[in-house]
């Protein structure tokens, strides 16, 4: 049986407060961290209430540890009707998979301009680490195209390099997969594998340059502390990367904070990469090593078909050979309607506000339009500039409905190269990546 103390850390800690990731791993200590928010308190109280029914606190924690996926509370303990809740995350997240844990955010819970920690989606290729020790965390930078091998503690990173904060959109490459037909294999994300919180850390470029980059550098790769779902310690859960020129862009961070607090455990605490504009699988979590490569990185989930699409478009349902699949780079233009919630009713003669966000990997959004007649006519929305490159942009508008009845509001964004979103599904691909078809919400006008 695993040591109880490691499970206590993951099960009882919350993403809410700045000190939530304290190193206290005392088995018996279940005191509330000083600055927890209400959600974390309720979660912890329910957990303790459930445990109280079973007997001695310490014994029950030890007993339950092997039964619960790391980081989750069963409804049996939480006394809610939800099948599973994820520590530190809103109960409104939709859990697609509990092992490995994957959960997405309904569109109306992404209404904040800056995504909150509890509302950011959770994506795992593998199993999150079961014990973390921030005080002794080491980040190693090395590789055949690194001038040296160097290690940094979190304190080293914080002291040696200038801190930077950027709002950066992270979107899973498979966001939207659920709509492909025939169905594409994998977690069936709808619209919720996207978030734009504020990240704080040091520039990836600054750390790479401190180590020294050889002239023949082509790519970087990351390694994290998550483990393969088969339990095989020789297999990495995921180890991806980006070309060296992308890596050196100034907004990319080695980050320790989200919205001025510790990154939630489920999103990579204590340290992660944040690479804006590319599939979020390039932003490694629980970051412990970066390698500077003289070739395209070949870690787990770099090889076809992972995070690749056919180099030449194919008809739906086609079989595509691995050698005909190309790595996804920047994410395509996309937008989301975050208000109103789909399915709501609205009074015809009252002004109808609509708002949301839009984003394009490595590019700016130049226009967002809305249609209430399935694309026959479009209304241009007000669009804000991004706070920084690769942050999403906010848009809003008002709609006047011509009559009562069932309407759909469709949003279409266009990027700075004039490329817009399709209204139907774009090109089918075997793994169901890159569905950036327009988002729409249904409204009953009364």
């Amino acid at each position: 049986m695993k040591s109880a103390k490691t499970k206590v850390t993951s099960a009882l800690s919350s993403a809410e407060g700045p000190t939530a990731r304290a190193n206290d791993v005392n088995t018996g200590n279940v005191s509330t961290p000083p600055s927890s928010k209400a959600t974390a308190d309720i979660t912890r109280r329910r957990f303790l209430m459930g445990l109280g029914t079973f007997g001695a606190l310490t014994g029950a924690q030890t007993l339950l540890a092997p039964l619960l996926p790391s980081g989750m509370i069963s409804s049996a303990i939480a006394q809610t009707k939800d099948s599973f809740r994820i520590i530190g995350k809103s109960a409104g997240l939709v859990v697609l998979n509990d092992r490995p844990i994957n959960a997405e955010t309904p569109a109306h819970l992404l209404d904040d301009k800056i995504t909150t920690a509890e509302n950011m989606f959770v994506r795992n290729n593998g199993i999150p680490p079961t014990s973390i020790d921030p005080a002794n965390w080491l980040l190693t930078i090395e590789g055949e195209s690194a001038k040296q091998s160097k290690q940094y503690t979190l304190a080293d990173l914080k002291q040696k390099f200038t801190h930077h904060s950027y709002q950066l959109t992270l979107e899973c490459g498979g966001n939207g997969r659920a709509e492909f037909s025939p169905g594409a294999k994998g977690n069936q994300w709808t619209t919720g594998a996207v978030a734009c919180p504020k990240w704080t850390g040091v520039r990836l470029a600054d750390v790479l340059k401190d180590v020294g980059i050889k002239d023949d550098a082509v790519y970087i790769g990351y390694y994290g502390k998550d483990t393969h779902i088969s339990g095989d310690p020789s297999k990495e859960a995921i180890s991806r990367g980006v070309p060296i020129n992308k890596a050196l862009e100034e907004e990319n961070l080695i980050a320790w904070a989200m919205n001025d607090a510790d990154i939630p455990f489920m999103n990579g605490h204590p340290l992660r990469l944040v690479i804006g504009g590319w599939p979020a699988s390039t932003s490694g979590k629980w970051l412990e090593r970066i390698v500077i490569r003289d070739q395209i990185h070949d870690g787990a989930k770099m090889a076809a078909p992972a995070y690749r699409v056919p180099c030449e478009p194919v008809a739906p349902g086609s079989k595509v050979a691995d050698e005909d699949m190309c790595i996804i780079h920047a994410m395509p233009i996309k937008s989301l309607i975050t208000y109103p919630k789909s399915g709501d009713s609205h009074k015809k003669d009252v002004q109808f506000p609509v708002r949301g966000h839009a984003w394009a990997g490595d590019k700016a959004v130049s226009k967002v339009e809305l249609s209430i007649d399935f694309g026959q006519t479009w209304l241009v929305a007000s669009l804000e500039k991004p706070v920084n490159r690769n942050a999403w942009q906010h848009w809003h508008s008002q709609i006047q409905f011509p009559s009562k009845g069932y309407f759909e509001v469709w949003a279409k964004a266009t990027d700075s190269d004039g490329v817009g979103q399709p209204m139907i599904l774009p090109g089918w691909n075997p793994k169901g990546y890159l569905n950036n078809a327009c988002h729409r919400v249904a409204v009953q006008v009364m």
């Binding site: 339950l64 049996a76 998979n97 509990d98 037909s181 294999k185 977690n187 339990g231």
Partner: protein, 115 residues
Amino acid sequence: MFGLLTVALLSFTSAMAETTAPESGIDPISGFVIKPGFETVRAHCTACHSGKLVTQNHMSRERWLSTIRWMQKTQNLWPLPQEEQILDYLSANYGERTIGRRAQLPTHLMPPRAK
């Protein structure tokens, strides 16, 4: 300690069972549809990952088979002695759906139907 372990496991399992009614035809432990062959599928297909990774998907028999081969080649899946039975179950209950280039909004995102 052993007695406490037994009690805790039973409480946990029965509480989990209560969250999904067996009458709905869904196995509460794995989420699989209760149809012939589901126990075999559950035994082999939830050792490493949750049943949810299976039940989310809808694929042809051929694509389920190529998924099994991929897992055997790269994810440490073992040979499946009841492979045909497993494929029968998956293609019957989680088979391919063709809905064209855009489906309707799902029911839970639609306004309630007028009575």
